[in-house]
């Protein structure tokens, strides 16, 4: 390879991202994406969700391959535990999004990461979903994310990367702010 490499390498092609950012600033229509998922009920509380195509940069796009997510409930709910519970997948989505952001922000700030570990915990009172107490909400009471990060930077620089990642995270926004959800039903 003859290309000169930045000494900091978190595996994020920041140059490409910045070029894309500039291009989308000039043609904002290309920034309109649509994300999609397909879910098939298997049996009991077990479902299989696949993601394959999405829309972006003005045209249909495809993942390199189809990604599959199995969701189910644990045995204490009298289920077969064929996959993570959907709320755990929400935690996975949040952690995945924030951690990707941390890598990108660190790269942009030329900070080398050595290890990034997120631990997530989200309390929930299941009296809500079981319909025992209508004053209890179905969702989490809150989400606690703890990051352990080893990087060539000061503690405040590391905190600033994590804060910036939250500021630019789609899943963090989806969770912290309301989103209109429309569910349509078609009989087949």
């Amino acid at each position: 390879m003859s290309t000169t490499k930045s000494p900091v390498d978190n595996g994020v092609n920041v140059e490409h991202l910045l070029t894309a950012r500039q291009a989308l600033t000039e043609t904002p229509a290309g920034a309109k994406f649509k994300w999609r998922a397909k879910c098939e009920w298997v049996n009991g509380t077990h479902s299989k969700t696949t993601v394959e195509d999405f829309f972006g940069l003005g045209e249909e796009q495809k993942h390199k391959r189809t990604h599959t997510f199995e969701s189910d409930h644990p045995e204490i709910f009298a289920s077969e535990d064929n996959g993570a519970t959907p709320v755990e997948i929400v935690l996975a989505a949040l952690a995945g999004c924030l951690t990707a952001g941390i890598a990108a922000v660190a790269q942009n700030r030329e900070i080398q990461l050595h290890s990034v570990t997120a631990t997530l915990e989200a309390p929930m009172d299941v009296q809500g979903i079981l319909g025992i107490d209508s004053d209890v909400r179905n969702g989490f009471d809150g989400i606690k994310v703890t990051y352990d990060i080893k990087a060539d930077a000061s503690p405040d620089e590391i905190k600033a990367i994590v804060a910036q990642s939250q500021k630019r995270s789609a899943v963090y926004d989806v969770i912290t702010n309301p989103t209109n959800v429309t569910v349509e039903v078609r009989k087949v």
């Binding site: 904002p28 405040d156 600033a160 963090y172 702010n177 309301p178």
Partner: protein, 417 residues
């Protein structure tokens, strides 16, 4: 009527530009919809003081020379300060002359006003960044029976119905109004989104003294990382007061103001708040500390460490543990929503195609994307202090020089025709 340059707006920026054009013997008029310092007279609340200390009120050929250089001008004092400037510079102000349209013609610009028409080779827009209070679209879904006031309409607590107030926005306007209303007996809840925390005094000196001395206010527009962002960051949480109070969220919390996340909507009569408050506060604390780091480094470099108080850091913003994400406003006793959600310029009369898709003027350091058209007095126009009174001077110098060169270029072009 014909004139070389029309300046629109007789606030500090328009007056500074006028003085610079006068020095260069460029004939001009200032068209003003009301009188000198109109916005300061009619669109600010009664207790407001400038956020910058008096010694920082510097304009080309003029400066504050009163008895209290470390104080902060009240609104009547600010108005008098600018009226005196207009008078000592013999600024050619045409008061009560509202511009209704600006468009290009073969010689430059055609300016229509309520008092006649002008032909000019150059036009300087000095109408400011705060013409209209910006109220977010979600306000349309506000529950019935709630009074709605903007920071631009607000004058004093007497105007607010008894009962609680939800102040939306925690920048300079929101925090100051929240403090005033809480102290006058209203139970205030403040919805906090992105905000910039700053202490009024650090190491014994006004924060603006540090920012001026360390060159922070002079950071040029073509050297910042993300200019678009720099031009749209919220105002510092600062207030001008005799006691030099810091009016940050911890101060408001100690007064009993209730903190909630950014207002994100209304549903079923309830206000909904973002769960992002802890991060908003973390971002703001980190940003403040980066500013203090820069100040400390500058102080050490310039041998000030023995002469001023030692460096220290402020307690992080105390974020309440039980943040509500929804609030039934009526049940919570809230009768008024105060929108302190920023301001926007008004260019509805500008018929020159220089606005971007968001209605902002396209310009390079105040040189608009149309020959002979300039804008002054916007945030980070040419330097960090561009929105301050003290920033108008340097910007007006630069832009008047550009304007003079453009006129010379025109003259050469005409001569060679």
């Amino acid at each position: 009527m014909r004139v070389t340059t029309v300046i629109i707006g007789a606030g500090h920026a328009g007056l500074a530009m006028s003085q610079c054009l006068r020095t260069r013997s460029i004939d001009h008029v200032i068209l003003e919809r009301g009188e000198v310092a109109h916005s300061w007279k009619h669109e600010r609340w009664d207790s407001l003081r400038l956020l910058t200390p008096n010694w920082l009120s510097r304009l080309p050929g003029y400066r504050y020379e009163g008895p209290d250089p470390d104080g902060y001008l009240t609104m009547p004092e600010t108005i008098a300060f600018l009226e005196r400037y207009a008078s000592v510079t013999s600024a050619p102000v045409h008061p009560h002359t509202e511009v209704t349209s600006v468009r290009t013609n073969s010689n430059g610009y055609h300016v229509e006003t309520t008092q006649g028409e002008w032909e000019a080779r150059a036009v300087v827009l000095a109408t400011g960044a705060c013409n209209k209070a910006h109220v977010p679209p979600l306000a349309a879904a506000m529950p019935d029976g709630m009074a709605s006031v903007t920071s631009q309409d607000y004058r004093n607590p007497g105007q607010i119905a008894p009962g609680g107030v939800l102040v939306v926005g925690a920048s300079a306007s929101g925090t100051q109004i929240a403090e005033e209303l809480q102290r006058s007996g209203h139970a205030v809840t403040i919805a906090v989104g992105e905000h910039i925390r700053a202490p009024r005094v650090y190491r014994g000196r006004d924060i603006k003294w540090w920012m001026d001395a360390a060159g922070v206010l002079d950071d040029p527009y073509d050297e910042v990382d993300d200019l678009n962002r720099a031009r749209h960051v919220p105002s510092l949480q600062l207030a001008g007061s005799a006691e030099r109070r810091t009016v940050d969220l911890n101060h408001l919390g100690a007064l009993g103001v209730r903190m909630v996340g950014r207002l994100v909507g209304f549903a079923d009569g309830k206000a909904q708040f973002s769960g992002s408050l802890p991060n908003q506060c973390a971002l703001s604390d980190l940003k403040m500390n980066r500013l203090l780091d820069r100040i400390d480094a500058w102080a050490t470099e310039h041998g000030l460490d023995g002469a001023v108080d030692p460096p220290h850091r402020f307690e992080p913003t105390l974020v309440p543990h039980d943040l509500p994400i929804a609030l039934d406003l009526r049940q919570a006793g809230i009768r008024t929503v105060m929108w302190a959600t920023g301001y926007r310029p008004d260019y509805s009369w500008l018929e020159v195609p220089v606005l971007d898709r968001k209605g902002r003027i396209r310009h390079d350091g105040g040189v608009a994307a149309a020959p002979g058209l300039y804008v002054i007095g916007l945030p980070f126009l040419r330097r960090r202090k561009s929105s301050l009174i003290d920033g108008a001077g340097a910007d007006a110098q630069d832009l008047s020089e550009h304007l003079a060169r453009t006129l010379d270029g025109d003259a050469v072009a005409t001569a060679s025709d």
